[in-house]
């Protein structure tokens, strides 16, 4: 079990990670989600032993890892761009750690791993001849070769194009489950995190602002900024929040409310009404900005067969499951 207790890391005096604490039980997959520059990769490198920890402790099964060099930690690290050794073939890359340990029957294990990641027959290729997705699979197989007690994944899929990323994310989850690997993945992509991980930690400005079961974090962002980062379109408070919650059939309280774009749907029976400000057609739905009476401008969606135009009056229904109450706090724009 990995546990971090108040870990801080700084670069030349500038703090990159501040008082990060988290626990990761064996067999679980944790995603550390954060915008770029939030310190999540630094945290990963600190766990791997590649960055010195300024204060706090990183421990495995209760043993402090301070002073344990990277190669003795038994953690495998998979980089964003794979970092395959360009001068070695695929088989030699995958078997690298096995050769270091003089594992007998390494060739069979390499074949097995390549099969696991769906690259049978690639043994003698050089990394330069592989596509981006293939390279990441080789990197994954290489990391899994010695059955690390913890697999660290640094944005493993973000160098790939969108379609491939989605498919590989699912495969990655299946492979990690099949191997029973404990893994910690950092990413800036919510979908990727949601697909691969069971637990989620959100990082911002070097601090872990929220962590827990992934669905729970999704349903209950801890503050407005986290909500916006997790893909909620707007955060409302005060009277607009009350109006919206009443329309959703909930009792209004002091909390602010975070609203996903898809929470507001144009429907004849809708409890709210407003004027369309702009409309944009996407392949799946029409995305609208609507000036809702008593609330202000909100994002909303309409079915493709509706044809709302700017200036039209529309009725809007609210889907309560796509909103989240968050403890009141200052709302900052952006996200």
């Amino acid at each position: 079990m990995l546990s971090l207790h108040d870990v801080s890391v700084s670069y030349d005096g500038t703090p990159a990670v501040v008082d990060a604490s988290l626990d990761l039980a064996d067999g679980q997959v944790l995603a550390v989600l954060g915008p770029s520059g939030s310190g999540k990769s630094t945290l990963l490198r600190a766990i791997a032993g590649l960055e010195p920890v300024a204060s706090g402790r990183v421990a495995w099964d209760g043993t402090d890892l301070r002073g344990v060099p990277t190669h003795r930690r038994g953690f495998a690290l998979m980089f964003q761009d794979g970092q395959l050794f360009g001068h070695l073939t695929v088989a030699r890359n995958v078997g690298y750690a096995l050769r270091l340990r003089r594992t007998p029957d390494a060739a069979a294990r390499v074949r097995e791993l390549l099969a696991l990641v769906g690259l049978e027959g690639y043994e003698h290729r050089l990394p330069a001849t592989l596509s981006g997705g293939e390279r990441q699979r080789v990197a994954l197989a290489r990391s899994l070769a010695v059955q690390p007690r913890l697999l660290l994944l640094d944005e493993p899929l973000s160098a790939l194009d969108a379609g491939l990323r989605e498919r590989l994310a699912t495969e990655l989850r299946d492979i990690l489950r099949a191997a029973g690997t404990t893994a910690l993945m950092v990413t800036h992509d919510q979908d990727e995190a949601f697909t691969v991980a069971d637990r989620l930690a959100v990082m911002r400005d070097g601090r872990i602002v929220q962590q827990g079961d992934i669905a729970a974090v999704w349903r209950g962002p801890v503050d407005a900024e986290t909500a916006l980062f997790l893909g909620y379109a707007r955060v409302l408070e005060g009277d607009p929040a009350h109006v919206l919650l009443r329309a959703a059939g909930r009792s209004p309280g002091d909390d602010a409310v975070a609203v996903r774009r898809s929470a507001l749907v144009v429907a004849d029976a809708g409890a709210l009404s407003g004027t369309v400000v702009s409309a944009r057609v996407t392949p799946e739905q029409i995305r609208l900005i609507v000036a809702v009476d008593g609330v202000g401008e909100l994002d909303a969606v309409a079915r493709l067969d509706a044809h709302p135009a700017p200036g039209d009056r529309v009725a809007i229904a609210v889907d309560a499951s796509r909103t989240a109450a968050i403890p009141a706090g200052p709302v900052r724009p952006g996200g």
Partner: protein, 544 residues
């Protein structure tokens, strides 16, 4: 078609210069040996090669150059790690100081070592004077800077993540070095080692001043055969052997340098402070500092010694011709000559270097084009491998009759020196130009910039620093050039290295003191030029 024409146009001037001032003299010199009395007679050359003395000379050249290279690499690689991957106060100054030996005039190095290990020197008790060990130390002294620079430049920008990936897979630091770092550095180490071997095998000034009568390398042997024994056939035979050996060496190293995947990820990394694990680097750097520092310290101390006391008498004497008419002109006059010649050699070699660098670094669009560029690249590297003595003597015997009667031209010396410096200049400029993404030029062109405008917008901003650095190298090479200049400089207009060589050859304490003082002056001038270059921080010298 237009591309090929442009290629030919750019290459025309350098090719013409190389043809007249390199190929012609060198082949003239070789022909001298092969044609006896107008008759082609290669048998004489073969006879020369079977002489016991020739065999001894060739063997000495090979093993002393190998030993010098080995010492330079063994010290240079760990030192490169410390100086380029670790940070500590005074690192910049140390790096600059260790670069100086490479451009020190060979004659000065010889004098400095003699001052250190000679009978009266501080290390005289070792009995090193005139030994082969002294020559190897001198060769290493010179070339360790090349290894540090070339390997350091590659190491500095080496992406640390593959090494981290290996560590994360369980590789210990030593295993990481062997399996990941070394393969990535291999091209840099191999090319540094091969160029160092080249420099060692063709070293002239060092062997001539340190070897005395006991040891002779191919290069000094050519000199002795030409000037003292007038045995041109034997000299030509040795030149041919040298040329063939060096061509073979270049071919082998280009093969060795090839790696399965030549792309190396580049990045800049924050360098940490040295730690206990850096003891190989600390040790090697310490040894290099001793190797480089001691002879220079001995030289400076010697130059300040007048009789039994200390003083500036030797420096004051530089305005004289020395005792017993050792020289025809005062040393100060030679210094002015040296500087004037160096300015000429610099602009010549820069002009040629820029043209050659553009030609060899542009991306090729067809296989033929690539082959032509590769051929040109190799051709302009040749002066690196051909004995400067051969070149100088070739000048004398081929450029002495109309239409090319240049024997009395003041430009002869700078032209020869420019050619000697050319490979260095090209190797400073070409990587910078080659590193420019061609799409930058295409972008400029698509925005309406003509070829000149494109060059000014895209190439020039990248090029000006290497250009200044190349100027510095050319200047320093010219100041120190001895092999070719010793044939070409006229007695009433000698350069500094020639004067120093004359002074140590003439008896008299005053002459020797003057030689030391003149060496210090020349070394200081060269060092100042090199320090200015180092301030520019061009990671050059890295890609022979």
């Amino acid at each position: 078609m237009r591309r090929s024409l442009a290629l030919v146009g750019l290459a025309a001037l350098p090719l013409a210069v190389l043809g007249v001032f390199f190929v012609l003299p060198v082949s003239g010199m070789l022909a001298e040996g092969l044609w006896v009395d107008g008759r082609f007679d290669p048998g004489a050359v073969a006879e020369v090669l079977t002489r016991p003395r020739t065999i001894r000379v060739v063997w000495f050249t090979v093993w002393s150059a190998s030993a010098g290279t080995a010492v330079a690499v063994l010290l240079g690689v760990p030192a490169a790690h410390l100086l380029h991957r670790r940070t500590f106060p005074g690192r910049g100054a140390l790096r600059a100081a260790l670069l100086v030996p490479f451009v020190l005039p060979t004659v000065v190095v010889g004098v400095a070592f003699r001052e250190l290990i000679g009978e009266a020197g501080p290390l005289g008790f070792l009995g090193f004077d005139g030994s082969a060990g002294a020559i190897v130390a001198g060769l290493a002294f010179f070339n360790v800077a090349v290894v540090i620079r070339a390997v350091g430049a590659a190491w500095e920008s080496l992406d640390p993540r593959p090494a981290e990936a290996a560590a994360a897979l369980g590789a210990s630091p030593a295993q990481v070095f062997r399996t990941v770092t070394l393969p990535a550095l291999r091209p840099a180490i191999v090319s540094a080692a091969s160029v160092v071997f080249l420099f060692c095998a063709t070293a002239f000034g060092v062997v001539l001043t340190l070897g005395g009568l006991r040891y002779s390398s191919v290069e000094t042997e050519i000199y002795l055969l030409t000037t003292n024994l007038l045995d041109l056939q034997a000299a030509a035979a040795l030149s041919i052997v040298q040329l063939l050996a060096i061509t073979a060496l270049l071919a082998i190293t280009s093969r060795l340098r090839a790696v399965p995947d030549p792309t190396v990820a580049r990045s800049t990394v924050r360098a940490p402070r040295p730690s206990r694990g850096d003891w190989p680097g600390l040790l090697a750097t310490g040894l290099v500092v001793v190797l480089v520092g001691l002879p220079i310290a001995a030289l400076v101390a010697g130059s300040l010694q007048v009789g039994d006391g200390w003083g500036l008498g030797n420096y004051r004497a530089l305005t004289t011709e020395g005792s017993r008419q050792a020289l025809l002109v005062p040393v100060t006059h030679a210094l002015v000559t040296s500087l004037r010649v160096a300015v000429d050699a610099t602009w010549m070699s820069l002009t040629l270097g820029v043209l050659v660098a553009i030609v060899v670094s542009r991306r090729s669009h067809s296989r033929t084009e690539r082959r032509v560029r590769g051929l040109l690249d190799g051709l302009f590297m040749l002066p690196l491998g051909v004995s400067a003595v051969t070149l100088g003597f070739g000048f004398l015997i081929t450029l002495d009759e109309p239409p090319l009667d240049l024997r009395d031209s003041a430009l002869l010396v700078p032209i020869a020196q420019a050619l000697v410096a050319l490979p260095l200049v090209v190797r400073t400029l070409a990587p910078a130009l080659g590193g420019i993404d061609d799409r930058q030029r295409q972008a400029a062109a698509s925005l309406g910039a003509g070829p000149l405008r494109t060059f000014a917008t895209v190439d020039l901003p990248v090029l000006w620093k290497p250009l200044l650095a190349g100027a510095g190298f050319a200047f320093a090479v010219s100041l120190g050039e001895f092999g070719a200049t010793s044939f070409l400089a006229r007695d009433e207009n000698p350069t500094m290295p020639i004067v120093i060589f004359h002074l140590i050859g003439h008896p008299g304490a005053m002459n020797y003191g003057m030689a030391l003082a003149a060496s210090v002056v020349l070394a200081t001038t060269t060092a100042l030029v090199m320090l200015a270059v180092e301030r520019l921080r061009v990671p050059s010298l890295g890609s022979f």
